[in-house]
């Protein structure tokens, strides 16, 4: 039974949500915890997801995708993450890069990359972060220098999701490291790992949660990339591309947070009806009810904010204020709710026998990924201050 919600769903969205939920119940939930504890890449599940069309959710039909809006994408990511947050993650940078190509790429670039991305034959990753620059992206050091028909890329990218399994990577570089302001010298390239000998995968990074998914370093040593791979064909646009694209990532992370929090609530409700202390189910104790009420209310607010922010992005506008709020709020809720769920499970919540310990380890990633929540607050504040003028 889908989560009861105030969020209005079209008939298409309702059907999609209930079918994705069926898939998650039957295929994901029985194995997610075990794979997660082994930190094993869920190859079979990802193949199934490809087969179901999940790599092309938002790619336009003319390039082989489904052309679904971000509101639907958000609902799908939420359902997947209710089963296992990592599955909502695996399609994140893929969806971001495909959106970037579709929004800013030339017609030739769209035809070249989007069809193989829509089927999942080529999965994508996004390389912004570097060892010395995460929040402060304008401080990246990676350079791209024109050489004939190519550019030569040098530098190291850090925390690249899908780094091993991905084939196409959108790489943020500096084509003019001396440019002022620095963002005006930034350019994004699409780099095909298989066709770029100077691009190599570094170590797999071990994480607290968000397991099963490959997060790696990527090295670029005199990596030659054709000039035709500059997104949009024009230097100096990279920052603008990334800032618009990161909004998609924030919708994804907010949706994942709602999914994880929902799972934590559902597990807590079931457990509190079964577990008895002092002669009655713990659900009868007011202390537990107060937690359940907080959890349910915050999750619903997070869901509505996230869907509304996604709808704003669907309208084709910059939505950094709204997606920033959604990402900030939903991920803080996921963090709080997963801790409350752990408390409700008592001693068992602290063990690997219960799923809540997984939610509790998965939630903090979302405070950080796609821009830390401190950075979201700066974005929100900047927008609000601007809104009220001088």
């Amino acid at each position: 039974m889908p989560t009861p919600t105030l969020a209005a769903l079209t008939e298409e969205q309702q059907l999609i949500v209930s079918e994705v939920r069926r898939f998650v119940e039957k295929e994901v939930l029985p194995i997610a915890t075990e794979l997660e504890h082994r930190d094993e890449y869920p190859a079979a599940l990802i193949d199934q997801m490809k087969g179901l069309g999940m790599m092309g959710i938002t790619i336009p039909p003319e390039y082989g995708g489904l052309g679904l809006p971000f509101t639907t994408y958000s609902a799908i990511v939420e359902e997947l993450s209710r089963g296992w947050m990592s599955l909502g993650g695996v399609i994140n940078t893929h969806a971001m890069v495909s959106w970037m190509i579709n929004s800013f790429g030339t017609e030739e670039q769209k035809r070249c990359w989007l069809p193989a991305m829509a089927t999942g034959e080529k999965r994508a990753g996004l390389c912004m972060t570097e060892p010395n620059a995460g929040s402060d992206l304008q401080a990246i050091q990676m350079t791209a220098v024109r050489d004939g028909d190519d550019y030569v890329l040098n530098g190291t990218k850090m925390f690249v999701s899908n780094g091993v399994q991905g084939k196409l990577f959108a790489v943020l570089t500096k084509t003019d490291p001396r440019a002022q302001p620095p963002y005006s010298g930034m350019t994004t390239f699409i780099v095909d790992k298989d066709e770029t000998p100077g691009m190599t995968v570094g170590r797999l990074i071990e994480k607290l949660g968000y397991k099963g998914i490959d997060t790696t370093e990527l090295f670029f040593e005199d990596a030659r990339v054709p000039a035709g791979n500059v997104v949009g064909g024009e230097e100096g646009q990279g920052w603008y591309h990334i800032m618009a694209t990161i909004e998609i990532g924030r919708i994804n992370v907010a949706s994942r947070a709602v999914g994880v929090a929902t799972a934590a609530l559902e597990d807590s409700v079931r457990y509190s009806k079964q577990r008895r202390t002092f002669g009655r189910p713990i659900a009868d104790h007011q202390a537990i009810q107060l937690m359940l009420a907080d959890m349910a209310t915050k999750i619903e607010a997070a869901r509505l904010l996230t869907r509304a922010a996604a709808a704003r992005k669907d309208a084709g506008e910059r939505a950094d204020l709204w997606v920033g709020m959604a990402k900030l709020f939903a991920t803080e809720v996921a963090q709080e709710v997963s801790l409350m769920a752990l408390r409700i499970h008592g001693g068992y919540g602290y063990t690997k026998e219960m799923r809540v310990e997984r939610y509790y380890r998965d939630a903090p990633f979302m405070l950080i990924g796609e821009g830390t929540n401190e950075i979201q607050k700066l974005v929100i504040a900047r927008n609000i201050l601007k809104m009220f003028g001088e």
């Binding site: 889908p2 079209t10 298409e12 059907l15 999609i16 069926r22 199934q48 179901l52 069309g53 489904l66």
Partner: protein
């Protein structure tokens, strides 16, 4: 252009925890469990899968989903459409909500007649709620067409239906000219998951809704043959006996004797 009609019933989710299963003995009804949505009967979904496998080989096949029940049954029809079926028909008539297998089969047979011509009707070997296992063969009887039960594979070619049947101790191949009725078993294999693209198409498809009178039937004339006398959850008693002994061998011997006494071995 082969036409396959799949009968799909909606049932309470059989994976509902036993602890939550309740019946209302006075009303002689199963009480729906809040929070657990009903599902298409598994054998019926396997029937849809069987039809889709035929369509995979013969793409101009049309698959119609047929369901008798209230409005909520639309969910199971939509799921079948999302799997790849072409059309859906819901027979929704409050006068038929209490139909037994006999009335159900008559109504479905009348609807199949209205959907004719058809080559194949596929039903589950039984519905997983009441487990009667008679609707498929009763439809065949009423339509006066052959019936092959408990299939693990159905092939259809040039008006001929070839079915691999499941027996207690093996398999058997049966053949029939179309049209005929085939009931399917879980040995046929897992039903596919709907692709997002097909889910989107299914959302746009209209489900036709018919009543008894649309089928030329008078609901008042349709009388159940089976009446439900009592509905209850049987009490299960578990008694435990610990077999004692000095050594594992001794315990095993005593256990074996006990089991033989109980005629279990």
């Amino acid at each position: 252009m082969p036409h396959i009609i799949c009968c799909v019933k909606q049932v309470p989710d059989p994976e509902t925890p036993a602890s939550q299963f309740r019946v209302d003995e006075a009303a002689k009804k199963v009480v729906p469990v809040p929070g657990i949505a009903p599902v298409p009967s598994q054998f019926d979904t396997i029937g849809v899968e069987a039809a889709l496998r035929i369509k995979d080989k013969t793409p101009d096949t049309t698959i119609t989903i047929l369901s008798l029940g209230p409005e909520s049954y639309r969910d199971s029809i939509k799921h079948s459409l999302a799997m790849g079926a072409d059309e859906g028909v819901l027979i929704n008539d409050p006068a038929l909500y209490e139909a037994d297998h006999w009335v159900t089969a008559q109504v479905l047979a009348a609807a199949i007649g209205k959907l004719a011509p058809f080559d194949l009707v596929i039903c589950g070997r039984q519905a997983v709620d009441w487990d009667m296992g008679v609707v498929g063969s009763t439809i065949a009887e009423i339509l006066n067409v052959p019936c092959i039960t408990i299939a693990k594979e159905i092939q259809y070619k040039d008006g001929q239906v070839v079915v691999e049947r499941v027996l207690l101790d093996g398999f058997e191949t049966a053949e029939s000219p179309a049209p005929c009725v085939v009931t399917v078993s879980n040995e046929l294999g897992e039903p596919r998951y709907p692709q997002l693209r097909q889910i989107m198409a299914a959302a746009r498809k209209e489900v036709k809704v018919w009543t008894a009178s649309d089928l030329g039937l008078d609901a008042a004339q349709l009388k159940n043959l089976v009446s439900l006398e009592r509905l209850y959850v049987p009490e299960v008693k578990v008694e435990t006996e610990i077999i004692d002994g000095e050594t594992p061998q001794e315990k095993a011997e005593k256990l074996a004797l006990k089991l033989r006494e109980a005629k279990l071995i």
